[in-house]
């Protein structure tokens, strides 16, 4: 078996521009999917985390059931559900990109919701009492007092979850969205060079996820209680 690494350079433009960034006639793109999915998943996750801790049962139970349900099934299954349901609900065909985005946001939000819940529970109860005593209402207490502390406590777990989400976006290729994985699949079928192709995109994915995990480690050290106490 002879390797032909030139296959990478000759297809780099398609792989990186179309596959990674989503610039080209196929749409899609790993980063174009991952970035909005992280932002929206985080937002929905905060709402879910708060809802899980709500005292009103009609908010608490649906959120809990939703989180447990999503966490109990594989992401592929969730993607297939969205692929099937979204066009039926909207009554018209929906591009793969939007199906994938909706599926990722709703899937990751369940995991992020659990992280946020842990963060909120790690905030001392006295903080709520103090906020209430100073006359803040529920929204102000949550937004200005609880959430900033809660999120700071769980930043490493959150970054870890974002890394997972970034890796998970490769599953969008299963429903045919043109991301980095799908681009590599397309090229390797044409060039018959699967070994070089998949190894190459493994390295590309790795560069992104590894830098994110270095960042997480750095944050963890910076945010550690000893460090904060010292400053």
């Amino acid at each position: 078996m002879n390797f032909d690494w030139a296959v990478i350079t000759s297809n780099a433009k398609f792989l990186l521009l179309q596959g990674l960034l989503g610039i080209g006639r196929f749409g899609g793109g790993t980063l174009r999917l991952a970035v909005p999915a992280i932002v929206l998943g985080f937002t929905v996750g905060i709402i879910l985390g708060l809802a899980r801790l709500a005292r009103r049962p009609w908010i608490h139970y649906p959120a809990t059931i939703y989180i447990e349900l999503i966490r109990g099934i594989p992401l592929v299954m969730v993607i297939f559900w969205f692929w099937f349901l979204v066009p039926i609900i909207l009554g018209k065909p929906v591009p793969e990109y939007w199906v994938a985005l909706a599926a990722f946001v709703m899937f990751e939000a369940a995991y992020i919701g659990e992280i946020i819940r842990a963060g909120i529970q790690s905030v001392p109860k006295g903080q709520i009492d103090a906020a209430t005593a100073t006359g803040l209402n529920y929204l102000q207490t949550t937004w200005d007092v609880i959430l900033p502390q809660a999120i700071r406590n769980v930043i490493p777990s959150l970054v870890t979850q974002f890394i997972v989400l970034f890796k998970d976006t490769s599953l969008a290729s299963i429903i045919g969205m043109m991301d980095l994985t799908k681009a590599a699949q397309t090229v390797s079928q044409r060039e018959l060079r699967p070994f070089e192709m998949y190894l190459f995109i493994a390295v590309v994915y790795w560069i992104f996820t590894y830098s994110m995990s270095c960042f997480a480690r750095w944050l963890e050290i910076r945010m550690s209680p000893e460090r904060i106490a010292a400053s």
Binding site: M1, E68, L69, R71, G72, I73, P74, L75, V76, M77, F80, W81, F84, I88, I89, G91, S157, T160, Q161, I163, V164, K167, D168, T169, S170, L171, S173, I174, T181, A184, Q185, S188, P194, F195, E196, M197, Y198, L199, I201, A202, Y205, W206, T209, Y210, S213
Partner: protein, 241 residues
């Protein structure tokens, strides 16, 4: 939304066997991969703590490279790419003996082995050093300290995170469908393709996964409570990706 429900497709003649086969294949692929992953996890988790730098570097490289690349990419790599570099005879043998299954087991084991080793390492490192020191101080030998104190504590500490990671492995085994392994997700897709009854097929698949995951979580929760160390909140709980 007009949709004609026909739940009977799930228990009609060939479909129910597909589901059952899929279910059993999911169990089989998860169980085999789990054994390899735990073995790799213990091996590399331990290697990352040895006082010999080159070994530590090899273990770190393995863990950091394999867990930071999507499993789907690894599946394609081990199924389409890796066999190309094998000698022709081995390749032919694999093709005739279920290469999909072997590649899927390789991909899932190596990927989850890397993740498992992080979980195990975190568990071992979360044991306070004083436990070890007080064992020695009370007159136990080194092996007794390990056998009677360090290992029992480590095992109990890592039950929750290892359970969590094992459930991830079970769920991730669904990706094996992409290289043609006839596991549960594959079976539900197959029923959907043959009958056009997506809602029913996906519901069946979803419920089976849910039952499996919740069942395992419930049992492990009981185990965890039974063996919990009094006065200690699970320290090793920090889930790694």
């Amino acid at each position: 939304m007009a949709y004609d429900f026909r739940w009977s497709v799930l228990w009609e003649a060939p479909h129910v066997t597909w589901l059952l086969d899929g279910f059993l294949t999911t169990l089989r692929i998860s169980a085999i991969s789990w054994i390899f992953a735990v073995f790799l996890g213990i091996l590399f988790g331990a290697l990352r703590t040895v006082p010999f730098r080159p070994l530590r570097a090899v273990a770190t490289a393995y863990v950091e490279f394999f867990r930071n690349v999507p499993l789907l990419v690894w599946l394609f790599f081990w199924y389409f790419g890796a066999p190309e570099v094998l000698p022709e005879a081995i390749r032919q043998w694999l093709i005739h003996h279920g290469m999909e299954f072997c590649s899927a087991v390789a991909a899932i084991s190596i990927y989850h082995g890397a993740r498992m080793s992080e979980v195990i390492r975190a568990g071992i490192q979360s044991i306070p050093k004083t436990q070890f020191e007080s064992g020695i101080a009370t007159g136990l030998s080194l092996s007794e300290t390990y056998r009677l104190i360090v290992i029992p504590i480590a095992l109990r500490l890592i039950v929750p995170p290892v359970t969590n990671e094992s459930l991830n492995l079970l769920k991730n085994s669904s990706l094996a469908m992409t290289i043609g392994v006839g596991e549960l997700t594959f079976a539900t897709r197959q029923i959907e393709t043959y009958t056009a009854k997506a809602f029913e097929a996906f519901t069946a698949g979803t419920l089976i996964y849910l039952g499996l995951c919740l069942g395992i979580a419930y049992i492990m929760n009981r185990v965890e409570k039974k063996f919990a160390i009094p006065g200690l909140i699970a320290r090793a709980e920090r889930a790694e990706h």
